[in-house]
Symmetry: C2
């Protein structure tokens, strides 16, 4: 007794019980199906890497949060904190074997020793897809289409994919003569929601050393809103005179034309020039995805275009575009919005058990149902019917097959629908069609 160890998980880590794990598996399956439907192919990289591969690649915060240690062979190693840095290492290492364009998807666990007080976990799943080795507009459009199909495939009806292009702000800053203050301007704009236009104006003056005229132009730019057509017209007036700005506008036009050509619901896309986060990392298009009914949880799928993925590891220039689905954030949202997993956690049918000597008969019925494509669990022990039905209730089985001594004698089995309570007695030969009939209701 005194040797017993308290079963517990580490702070910031968690177990997945069958209900939550079934939903998680469902999300991953939908993501895989969508990725594959666009020709993306799976890859995987190790959880552990040499520390110099990871260190300094995600900024100071990532470095601080790294699970880094020495292995038994004295190597300085660490757990990956995202999938982007390992992807860059992977592509640099295998470029010859991969060929370009290369369209990987990568679903994997990452670890960050974050402060858990914010309700964040230290272990979570990422679900990335990328198109590498091309600067094509088509690849940008498809990135948006994949996000669209992901959320539609998961059963969301109200979500907005916000799109922006780094180049339109770039054009503006060229025109007003603040191109060398891009980072400071981005940081200021990012606070728009928190401090309002007046606050941003003050910040622009202080940190970006902007004049009142420059501030005016930036705030006018940030205020451009409405339908994509309206925003594009507004942008053309404000930044069309700069070549970079015009490139960004033409690109965004092509992007929205592509979403339309693919038959997307136009209400699911918005052109939002106030997106600032991500713009210091991405060089062209930027995507963020918000749930209309839960905007406060932030973007559930973010990405964009980058000029060069792996310059730290190779001299080969690798432009690309991609995005990352925040699986765990999405799971929390699905729970809150009661957008359920399409997969039931339990088998369709529970074959109840009364005569241990007739195990072969129970197994025969289960096999028959399974061959017909149903999922079937056999209750392993002979217990009272009530106890077995309570088990089925708790698990979420839809049908119970009931056969005791009397039923075996008469050659009939009883099938009970566990939601409606409906019961039917059928001969052996009718087991499969009767179960199908009941499940179809």
């Amino acid at each position: 007794m005194s040797d017993r160890i308290q079963p517990r998980t580490l702070k910031g880590f968690r177990d997945f019980l069958p209900g939550a794990m079934s939903t998680r598996e469902h999300v991953i399956e939908v993501a895989r199906r969508v990725y594959r439907s666009y020709g993306y192919r799976p890859i995987d990289t190790p959880a552990l890497e040499y520390s110099d591969i990871l260190f300094g690649k995600g900024g100071q915060e990532s470095d601080r949060q790294l699970y880094r240690f020495e292995d038994a062979g004295g190597r300085d190693i660490a757990l990956r904190f995202d999938l982007t840095v390992p992807l860059a290492r992977f592509v640099a290492q295998h470029a010859g074997a991969l060929g370009m364009p290369f369209k990987p998807y990568h679903i994997g666990t990452v670890w960050r020793g974050e402060n858990t007080q914010r309700g964040r976990y230290r272990e979570f799943l990422q679900c990335d897809f990328d198109t590498i080795g091309t600067e094509s507009l088509v690849a940008d459009i498809e990135t948006g289409l994949v996000i669209y199909d992901l959320f539609a495939g998961l059963g969301f009806e109200r979500y907005t994919i916000r799109v922006n292009n780094r180049k339109v702000l770039g054009g503006l800053l060229e025109l007003v003569g603040l191109a060398d203050q891009t980072s400071a301007v981005l940081r200021a704009i990012d606070k728009l929601g928190k401090v309002g236009t007046a606050g941003v104006a003050v910040e622009l003056g202080k940190t970006a050393h902007a004049t009142p005229d420059q501030i005016e132009r930036i705030l006018t730019f940030c205020g451009i809103s409405g339908s994509p057509e309206a925003v594009l017209a507004g942008l053309r007036a404000e930044v069309g005179a700069a070549q970079t700005g015009e490139e960004g506008i033409t690109h965004l036009e092509g992007l929205f034309a592509g979403f339309e050509a693919a038959g997307c619901d136009p209400d699911r896309f918005a052109l939002d020039v106030s997106i600032a986060r991500g713009l210091d990392y991405y060089t062209g298009v930027v995507f963020e995805t918000f749930l209309d009914d839960l905007p406060e949880i932030g973007s559930c799928c973010s990405g964009g275009r980058y000029d060069d993925l792996a310059s730290v590891y190779t001299k080969q220039r690798l432009p690309g575009v991609g995005a990352s689905l925040g699986v765990d954030r999405l799971l929390a949202a699905m729970e809150e919005l009661e957008i359920g997993a399409a997969t039931a956690a339990a088998a369709d049918v529970l074959v109840t058990m009364f005569e241990p000597d007739r195990a072969a008969d129970y197994l025969r019925m289960a096999t028959e149902l399974r061959r017909a494509g149903l999922t079937v669990e056999v209750y392993p022990d002979a217990r009272k019917l009530g106890a077995q039905l309570r088990y089925a209730d708790g698990r979420g089985h839809l049908l119970a097959v009931i056969a005791g001594a009397r039923e075996f004698e008469s050659g009939e089995v009883r099938i009970k629908h566990l939601t409606t309570g409906e019961e039917v007695d059928v001969g052996d030969a009718d087991l499969v069609p009767a179960c199908r009939r009941l499940l179809a209701r």
Copy 2:
């Protein structure tokens, strides 16, 4: 340049490129489908645990191979080295919420700092399933049926599930008076393949202090072979007189009757009393699965019945039965035996690209095909047809859709079957049916 970091993976770790990863995903998908069809439900546990949860639970070798370190908060933590110890911790911690019987499956990565000279990896995937909280024969039978369905589902035709029951040897050792030497006897028997009967005889005398009579009886026992019926008859003669032995025999009879009732090919099961590995861990039935054409790689799916899963963590007694699929060993075998992945690595169709200004038209075609259930990749850049077809060849696309200026003018597109070389020109409206027709060949 000089700042560039050499892209490389740690010794004993590896990247999965799309081909290998597609096969791995296929194996996992088959396993999930089979597990679910029997009512098993998914769980997951963290990769990292407190070291005292893992340490000392897998024997000295596991302890030595543990990736163990201190986190930033000074906690003594380690990466899981298998899924059994975390499952025991999990069940002890959540028993109340789970209810019994509990049928989890658990697919996850584990880490062992093994000597890589034996061609072993330090990171590999395990794929376990268990039925906990019951001693039912039905649960034992279903464990065998799941293994059977797994290998059949993966496309193997020649494999043998070797079955044994710890109790038959237990009965023999009772009868000959060597019950207190079980471990030594098991270790000796395990060497049968390597050192032959004479070698085992010497070892039994030396380490188990067996007399010539006792050795004779043990070797006779180990020599019982043939059909399950023949083995059962032989066992009854040798060990039926002991109650434990008789229990084992009756259990094995029920087990093989169950496999028959479920309509399994009897040639895929063997009753093998010489299985010794695993018998010191398991308390009842034991399973090992060998590929008939690659026996040298060892068992690809092993398991058995245990008396108590989680006694280290809880006083609740939790008997169960389960097995573990060796995914990476199986992947190596599939490659060697050329048992391919059922999933093609690439999309069915490559839509080639010639007119960047008509991106919308290419995307429209791709969307149409995708809605019809095909997987479709759009080549992102306008390049020469030859280059795009070489790309498709390398990726394994089945069809190429070809539309340039001329085709758009005439309202027809060309579809090329990339294996047969067959080409057809079809009007826009016929794109989907024509692709389907060509793919069906």
